[in-house]
Amino acid sequence: MGFRDLIDIGGGFETVVNWLQDNLGWLFKVITDTVNGMLDGTEFVLTAPPALLVIAIFAALAWYFAGYGVAIFTFLGFGLVWYMGLWTLTMSTLSLVISSVVIALLLGIPLGIWSSKSDKVWSVMRPVLDFMQTLPAFVYLIPAVLFFRLGPVPGVVATLVFSLPPAVRLTNLGIRQVPKEIKEAALSFGSTNRQMLLKAELPVALPTIMAGVNQTIMLALSMVVIAGMIGAGGLGNEVLRGITQLRIDVGFEGGIAIVILAIFLDRVTQALGERTK
């Protein structure tokens, strides 16, 4: 037996994963059902109306938040997606992104607030976030598949893990950066902890938190494509088909649709962040 067999790191992880699978099956079932519900709901909302109507709504949103340039791009871009016949796939990718981002923010912002309030919490949180962000994205896919089988749910879970860190980090940063005098002012007028958070800290930190939201969305989009490998569906499948069958046309069309979606999401959320300043 060699020295390296003394401590089996990979095997250790395997044991943990197996134990979780055996003992927490009910939890994974609950998560699966919830995520499936969210996915179906968003996908229905996005695909039930005629494509042109949805495109018009996107363009209107872009106009409202980011101005007419982005609106024109949105209209032409999604028009192109529709023309290429990728509309439904793009919308299922978008619903994957929306579902994972919503969960990521619901978890990430409270975690960020908690981290900002306690140096101890942050000192534990930081290495965990580093780990989540730097571990190659593909590696998440394995436990995700083991826990949730193939399909969109493990895709959402893997995406969630990958896109959560910026939400936590930037919420933490935003609140820690609130000028000391503003915190003191809030306290000196007799704020409770809750009033301090809701009336002073969060509003002042909002631009930074919005930057985190933007990053979370962009990371989610990139991961959702990779999650195509475990059958998450959407444009990821299309790109994967392009790779495995060496079909340049399929790969490129899928890729272009992803780029259009990415630019739309980025510009609109960035503009949203600007408005909070």
């Binding site: 002012a185 000196s188 009336k199 002042v204």
Partner: protein, 416 residues
Amino acid sequence: MALIEVNDLYKIFGPSPKRAIPMIKKGMSKGEILKKTGCTIAINSATFTIERKETFVVMGLSGSGKSTFIRCLNRLIEPTAGEILIDGQDIMKMDSEKLREVRRYKMSMVFQNFGLLPHRNVVNNVEFGLEISNVDKEERRKKAEDAIKLVGLDGFEESLTSELSGGMQQRVGLARALANDPEILLMDEAFSALDPLIRTQMQDELLELQARLHKTIVFITHDLDEALKLGDRIAILGPDGRVRQIGTPEEILASPADEYVKRFVQNVDRTKVISAGTVGGHAASITYPREDIQAAIRTMERHGTSSVFVTDHDRHLKGVVTIDDAIGLQKKGEKDLGTVINADVYTTSPSTPISDLLATAIETRYPIALVDEEGRFQGAVSRAAIISEVNKGYEGSDVEQPQTLSELQDAQDGEE
């Protein structure tokens, strides 16, 4: 009873700060204690009282613990030991609920860099404190608008604070602090971040506001001129966190407690602070019409003066009579001095700084009469007294004094 009473207050930063207190009491220096315990002393045994409706200025250079001190008053910083009584209640013993009450209704704070909320407009910023105290919307708006008027910001209600100049932003800070009508106003270097012209203007406005509102103000500053201008009383903090002297501006200028304070005040323009009342004093006067010419002449002779002030029986000043006029009248055989009372005499309030009297003092033939707000005669200040007071300020300072030609010639001869 004083409104705020601070007894033997300590604030020590560092690990297990209480350990340092016995060392301080033994008289160990700041450096020794830092070496032994790793603790820094910010406030060292501060004891004083702040009266209702007075402006109490705490003055010290940076690092003297003045900002720490003001934060102890509302416990933004927890004091290490001692007692802070506000209206007889020790705020250091209050639970968080009670402390919040005090912060909401009893005292408000104004900050050096304003501490305004950038996402709110002016009126919403001013409403902030009221919002925290759960005042309902309409009342909140009304009170906020009153406070905005008070500081002269009407018309800017909807502006974003980032669009305003520093002086205007601090007005917002002041309005926010005044909005819930607190008894105590804590002002932490409130004007230090403003440029000098605006600072002077804000000081004047604060004095005006205070004359109307009669708050108890605790004002922190590193600027002695500001302290002397605003303070009814001033506490000077030394670099060791110890209170060096507490007194009125005049007391501090006239008799500095130690070398540290003396060095501090030596460059101050005393004439701006020393008042006519301090320099002047009792002056001879007669009551008209009860007393006649004879009495006037006798009074002047007794005091060795060439003029005497005349008041009515309520001590209201009527004018001045000179010895020449009185004797002239006496020669004519008159008794009543009504015809020679000269109302052409300068009057001033005892609180006027002597710098404002210099020009008059040089021009006038009579002493300047001191009268109170009701016009009652309080005494007088002579030209000689003013000039000698001005001169006192220059003694010992390195101002170049004029020399006579003969002195210069003597000095040259000596060298040769």
